[in-house]
Symmetry: C2
């Protein structure tokens, strides 16, 4: 690897070449470029994306969620090490919607999976999640593509299962894994309503020592609950597995299950269909994001929105009347400003 | 009630007065006005809404969903008749996202609840659902407001639990009731993933004759499943009840439960908080709807969208590149056209 000077700027070709050669430093710089809010950076990032796109997609994308304390990092470290031990190249993108992107949180994340982060066949990167309106998965998706082009064949996207981001993550992965605990009391686990139904598998972690009996009972309960849901379009029956990330038990079994899923979904065509739908949806999400971004960042809208919201909340103005008033206002005031953010 | 001539047009004041006096014919005409796609009708409708808004809201809004065959209409007829028998005024708005709004489907809906529709203290009206992008609940919400101003104190919104509309309905009601069957095999019930978690109560219908044992078992299973979900913001524990709509059993109990919920939610403040959030969200939904409506109805977008979608689906163009290309195109081509639809 070349020694880089801080100020050195790459061309789109240099970025693309570096990424395709698996250069970690250029990959990291490219991800920073993707996450940049500068207009000029955005244009360059899109050119890079266009160049590397043909080299993406031949991978397995796994979303992993669960509340803090469920042992996600420990699991991902054990799982990632297992995958590199069987010859896989693993990229882990973590999304923490509760933390702003500071040096602190980046170091924090890296420290959490230190062993994996130091593995030459793995790459751990926290993903920016500053934007709330679709921004999370837009940037994360593009980061995922860069990692794929850099040669990683298993992409793990980790998110905390208590916010909105895991819904977005479901829309960008092939397999969605939910990590739960037994015996913590289901009400206390605080998993967001709706997440359980999105799971392709539920992993009950910390199934070790005195906790095994409780985990077996929880496994049965979750299996019963999953059974109540209508089948997914891909006809996959979500499974419940036990695991002890700390004792490295259930790790290989999880990979086996994911492989079973992959074979199942590729055989019945749903794997590819899902990817196509996700791509199309991604485009519409980006459109929706910018339409709303432009609207809500319009100066005159910003000024009057709180008052209109308050009038609508308290029943003084019908929602539709307030909405149209704001729409008209944006049209008159904001027409030309919107260009700059594209 | 006055005899009306077909061509007679009302002013906003005449609409408002008629509605507040509980005139069913004017109410029906006002709902048609709300559902109209004509620009001039929209303006009049919004003025009417503004006038009647102070007389809305002091009601209970109940969403009812379930797959076809679960017995929703039979239940609503029995439930509605029970409510009118204890002095309530009941409006039933039905949303069938699968049927276009034709004379046929309107008559069909009315026939389904004939007894209730002929009750002087009830009003049954199918709600148009032509628009998919948020249009369903936008029109239904406004229709609900008109019914409230006309003096109905329980509003029932019925929808088929297999599409997207019940998610919208959850966002406009105080209490969300899911009607299920026992013994049909959960996989066969085809209820959309995510719906069960939105329920404030699950009613297992057709709990009569030989079916009672199966229903009791199902009740336990659903209660276990509901237990797995995190509590809602309102701290209400969703309940499972048995009922036989055809034998009019479990009807009064359902009303008791809903009243319990109302007391609970009003005591802890979540009832009003939920309404305020819904109102604010409604405004943002309308904004989002029109932003997207304008974009996707732009002539030049319509022309190129299929090709861009196809390129994105098959991985030829990055989603973000296609999205921005389309956004730029809409901006250049469509600027002034958008005004007319507000």
């Amino acid at each position: 690897m070349k020694k880089l000077f801080k100020k050195r700027k790459y061309s789109a070709d240099e970025y693309a070449q570096g990424i395709l050669q698996g250069d970690r430093i250029i990959l990291s710089r490219a991800i920073t470029l993707i996450e940049s809010k500068l207009h000029s950076d955005n244009e360059l990032a899109e050119t890079v994306l266009q160049k590397i796109l043909p080299f993406t997609g031949n991978t397995l994308r796994i979303g992993i969620t669960g509340i803090p304390g469920a042992g996600k990092s420990t699991f991902i470290e054990a799982f990632g090490k297992y995958l590199t031990s069987i010859g896989k190249q693993v990229a882990v993108l973590t999304i923490d919607p509760t933390s702003r992107k500071t040096k602190g949180s980046i170091l924090g994340d890296k420290t959490r999976m230190e062993e994996l982060a130091n593995d030459v066949n793995a790459y751990v990167r926290p993903s920016a999640s500053g934007d709330t309106l679709g921004g999370v998965h837009s940037k994360t998706r593009e980061t995922m593509l860069l990692c794929e082009a850099a040669g990683f064949d298993v992409i793990i996207i980790e998110t905390v299962g208590v916010g909105q981001s895991e819904v977005s993550v479901k829309g960008i992965v092939d397999f969605f894994l939910l990590i739960m605990l037994a015996g913590a009391g289901d009400e206390l686990q605080g998993i967001k309503r709706g997440i359980m139904e999105m799971a392709d598998a539920i992993l009950i972690n910390k199934a070790d020592g005195d906790n095994i009996t409780a985990c077996k009972r929880a496994k049965q309960e979750y299996a019963n609950a999953l059974h109540m849901f209508a089948p997914q379009e891909n006809r996959w029956n979500p499974q419940v597995l036990l695991c002890s990330a700390i004792q490295k038990m259930g790790i290989a079994e999880t990979w086996q299950l994911i492989r079973q899923f992959e074979i199942h979904a590729k055989e019945n065509g749903s794997f590819n269909r899902n990817r196509q739908t996700q791509n199309r949806q991604w485009m519409h999400d980006v459109i929706s994001y910018y339409l709303q971004h432009n609207f809500y960042n319009n100066g005159s809208i910003k000024d009057v929105l709180p008052n209109q919201e308050q009038r609508v909340e308290t029943g003084k103005t019908p929602a539709v009347v307030a909405a149209k008033k704001l729409l008209k206002m944006a049209e008159v005031a904001g027409d030309k400003k919107t260009c700059e953010i594209y």
